[in-house]
Symmetry: C2
Subunit: 346 residues, 2 copies
DNA sequence: AACATCCGGGAAAACGTTTGAGTAAATAAA
DNA sequence: TTTATTTACTCAAACGTTTTCCCGGATGTT
């Protein structure tokens, strides 16, 4: 079904049909013609060819007419638990976008964010801007910038200063975690999580070095930031060394996995080992023991990302901006002073 | 940047540029011309206008040329925990689709699945078919059918037989839950969850009636299927009556919320009340007590949905098919015989 | 020498819209 | 009555591709 078909059937010109459908101005068409056209539209289930429409109205080129839609890009992990973080972020984004009358298109890369095939997938979309969530390398970023023009990053890592970024600083958050550990008297602190291009790991290292505590390789295990990663990571850690009183997990998901491994090995949390992580995703309130973690205002991060992206799209600002949202440690049950258990029992 | 611009700059015709870029056959162009064109393409960062391309190649109309992409449609809830179910389903879908060299576009409706504005959002996409997840009314379904032609539903509810559906029967699952309760000696069984157009509630009612147990209105509470819904639902249930020994929660998310409410009110699970739910989402293995629940093969559901949808797209079958995947009760810690505690202690 | 074949390349017709310019009739203003 | 204005349309030109048909020349075959 095309406008031509409708026009023929209604006995009017294509332009008339187009104008009826798009309600252009007052002198659209007579009531009679309008009714005839709409009847056909409804009966045949006609819906306009968006490619043609976009092509004509310039929606397809660089940035003539806005689409009032933004892309939300992130890489799907293999871990449902980890998706909670992204879901929450995405919800914030959607909510704020909706509030501005924007639509968000979810461009979820499946296999690999570096995969050129994924690029094609992403390129296929026409949006006014893109928000990229979680993790993103320079290559991807510059690609997105070139293609979508307006880009904002949201997550825990600081990225190249030429992009808008709304972040909760993982480096500083890690610092807070370590400081809390130090404050409680811990010095032998292990790390489980990603160690590559990861703010949080850098924060861990920096905190140790600021305290003149040497970094012990046997206390850091590189693991994917998933429950399985946390589980296996903790197991590997225990194999390498037991000489630690605290573990810093790079996120809640890792912590949840690690917790399970530790418990299976008969360790008491926080009796034998204290544990702090980062994120405060929704589920941590329902697991036992309740995770002591750094609260990231995830939904706010998403909302702010939408706000900044839309502001940029609409020309509100031109200079790249970096917005920092605050975090806070929420004290729950997985953390105590070293030797806490013994003293309590003795 | 358009083909015309490149053509002008390279001193060749538009057709030649197009051919070079699309690598058509052997007689594309001389090495010399190819190099010249590619140089300009790279330098200017040209990328083809997809609207024009789609329009021309018929990708925009009904179903001439396949896009090798499918839509994944579901309604975003306000609860991150509930999203786990959909994430898992979506991952299965993505994985299988990827395996068939299809791309999945995520069309997440935000506000309301019945909202016409959402329809526009969805209509904007060109895909070969659509998989709709979780919940879906007839109106939406027929709309999708009309627009996307190939539609498959996946979830726990049986839908109109004229659509492909790959489901895990919530009605029967509810029956299994109730049977288990009966087997353990429970007769006063409460229900928390959605009661409208919901298989699971129907299963609850049917099981009671099969056992000649009258349905007691004070033991069923209608609640949104979220943690908050489960929490509030359990609270309301306790206000209305305490005369029950077991609760059937319509999904894990509700169960997790309910569990919290019950524990806050000082009830022992499973000592004072037994609890069974449905889904077996990933997190239930990490909460305390471990949920006894019906295991739905969520990821399989997604995979099968992709498989069937793609088969239909490629003309593999024409008749609507209903595929049932098996479920199984996984026994964990929230369920026991009534009076279990007393006997154990005495 | 005559013929077919192949190869690099061009002209132009679509694809389904939107929209500015134009027109004939009806109505309003002079 | 004539002239302006509105109403209700139609025509046709774009938008940026892809693709079919064409052509001139080089090469190969009788």
């Amino acid at each position: 079904m095309t406008l031509k078909d409708i026009a023929k059937e209604a006995g009017v010109s294509i332009s008339t049909v187009s104008r009826v459908i798009n309600q252009k101005g007052a002198s659209a068409a007579s009531k009679e013609v309008q009714d005839r056209v709409w009847e056909i539209v409804r009966r045949t289930g006609y819906s306009p060819n968006i490619a043609a429409r976009d092509l004509k109205s310039g929606n397809s080129t660089s940035a003539k007419k806005p689409t009032r839609s933004i892309a939300c890009i992130f890489a799907r992990t293999e871990d449902p638990m980890k998706d909670i973080f992204f879901s929450t972020l995405a919800r914030g984004l959607e909510e704020e976008a909706f509030h501005h009358n924007y639509i968000v298109k979810h461009l979820i890369t499946f296999v690999d964010i570096d995969n050129p095939a994924e690029f094609r997938h992403i390129t296929g979309n026409r949006v006014d801007g893109a928000a990229v969530l979680g993790r993103c390398n320079r290559q991807m970023l510059s690609f997105l910038k070139k293609h979508f023009n307006n880009v904002v990053y949201s997550g825990l890592n600081t990225i190249n200063a030429k992009y808008d970024q709304i972040i909760c600083d993982g480096y500083q958050a890690a610092g807070s975690v370590m400081e809390k550990f130090f404050e409680l008297g811990h010095t032998r602190i292990a790390y489980i999580g990603d160690t590559k291009e990861e703010n949080r790991y850098e924060g861990y290292c920096a905190s140790l070095s600021a305290k003149k505590i040497p970094l012990r390789r046997e206390l850091v295990v590189h693991a994917p930031m998933t429950t399985e990663g946390g589980y296996q990571g903790a197991l590997r850690l225990l194999e390498k060394s037991r000489d630690f009183t605290a573990i810093f997990c790079s996120n809640d998901t890792v912590a949840i996995g690690a917790l399970r491994a530790l418990q299976e090995k008969g360790l008491k949390i926080p009796g034998d080992v204290s544990l702090i992580s980062i994120d405060d995703i929704d589920v941590v309130q329902y697991i036992t023991p309740l995770l002591t973690t750094i609260r990231i205002p995830i939904e706010e991060l998403g909302k702010m990302a939408a706000k900044i992206l839309i502001d940029r799209i609409e020309g509100g600002h031109r200079l790249p901006m970096k917005i920092l949202l605050p975090f806070s440690l929420v004290w729950r049950e997985t953390c105590a002073e070293p030797g806490f258990h013994k003293r309590e029992n003795g």
